[in-house]
Symmetry: C2
Subunit: 212 residues, 2 copies
DNA sequence: CTCGTTCATGAACGCATGTTCATGATGAAC
DNA sequence: GTTCATCATGAACATGCGTTCATGAACGAG
């Protein structure tokens, strides 16, 4: 088929390069990036096997762009505004953050599963403009929220915003990882009871009230 | 070479089956289980390529046994007793648990990296006698410790032992995972400051003291 | 000594995957 | 209308992997 005719069939507004990335993103969202084959992507995109080499240096470059696009899509799918300091209660806001972070990690971590096997893809990812390395955006956002509440006097000044963020993100990693390593286990949508207990522990600690 | 002569060269006390597992464990500890090749293991064990099929059904069975042995070795390497309720302070004990869990996860998680790609290995692992599935032993051990302290009145009765365990283990996953996905980042030995802040957050919470 | 059994050996096989390339259809340039 | 550059095509190639198997060496039984 001719190049331009094929492009017309896809809708001229999308270059074949973007079309390939989109196909890879669909597969990544469905099965993760681990076992993905060049032929899988070509079939999903309904193009010939070798096409990607007309638009990318190799499979790794396409994969890096697709992972990047997937992360942006997941973040963009987050509807609504994150909680802001001073609104509602700290506990409710922390809970909202935990649920947001859980949703994001549940969508992103499986796509990254097995990626530590492919250091070259990770290196390519690091080259891309957006910030994936050095922790996720939600982390610093959450730390910023805690700092804001400290400014308003609704959170103890001695508390460490970074520690809170690490604890919240860690819970997400724990729940998602548990599901990844044991798919028969409960999906990473913990019971509301556990979420409430986690947040309550963060807010009130475990020391006896008398001990301060 | 003759079977018995080869066994003698290895030291007769070790069957070739165990010798293969030991070789695989060495490689797993060094590079993880992800890219491991049948030929890699054979070379490490200094035997012929096809040997493992005389002692295991396939590569996955050997890998499952090796991962199992690796986990047991890591746990056995944990020297000393875990903290017990009533000793020292709750804060110091939590810190000790966090450091133990961090060491264990730093040794185990990389070995499991990319394993979600290989569901059959995971299934084989689940068949083995020991408990890997359903969370790590440290988790329930830590929850048990918290319950013990509650019995002694050193931890608030309202606190959830499971939540504490999830938070501690989650921090470990977070730190190790961050290093796995970005090897240039700091290794999973966080500054003592961060550890102290994490434990302090767990113990005291972040609410203003006046709010109780 | 002879036979049979065990089992390490490593070359060879089949398969899957990443990558290349000669081919040819298409539209733009003049 | 002719020429030319573009680029999708998919068969073919090279590589690396898990696995098999005919071979032969060593040992025990009789």
């Amino acid at each position: 088929m001719s190049p331009r005719r094929a492009a017309a069939l896809r809708g001229g507004d999308q270059s074949l390069r973007e079309h390939l990335i989109a196909a890879a993103v669909r597969l990544i969202a469905r099965r993760g990036s681990a076992g993905l084959t060049v032929r899988d992507i070509a079939r999903e995109a309904a193009v010939a096997d070798g096409v990607l080499y007309n638009h990318f240096a190799d499979k790794e470059e396409l994969l890096a762009h697709a992972l990047h696009a997937h992360v942006r899509a997941v973040e963009a799918a987050q509807e609504g505004e994150p909680p802001r300091p001073g609104e509602r209660t700290v506990e409710a806001n922390l809970r909202a953050y935990l649920e947001r972070a859980l949703a994001v990690h549940a969508a992103i971590l499986p796509a990254f599963a097995g990626l530590s096997t492919q250091p070259k893809v990770l290196a390519r990812l690091a080259e891309l403009p957006n910030p994936l390395a050095g922790g996720h955006g939600l982390r610093s956002e959450l730390a910023g929220y805690v700092r804001g509440e400290q400014g308003l006097g609704r959170v103890a000044p001695a508390a460490s915003p970074e520690a809170v963020a690490t604890l919240v993100v860690g819970v997400c990693h724990d729940l998602v990882l548990g599901h990844l390593l044991d798919p028969t286990s409960a999906p990473p949508e913990p019971s509301p009871g556990l979420v409430a207990e986690l947040v309550a522990t963060l807010v009130h600690g475990i020391a006896r009230p008398a001990d301060g």
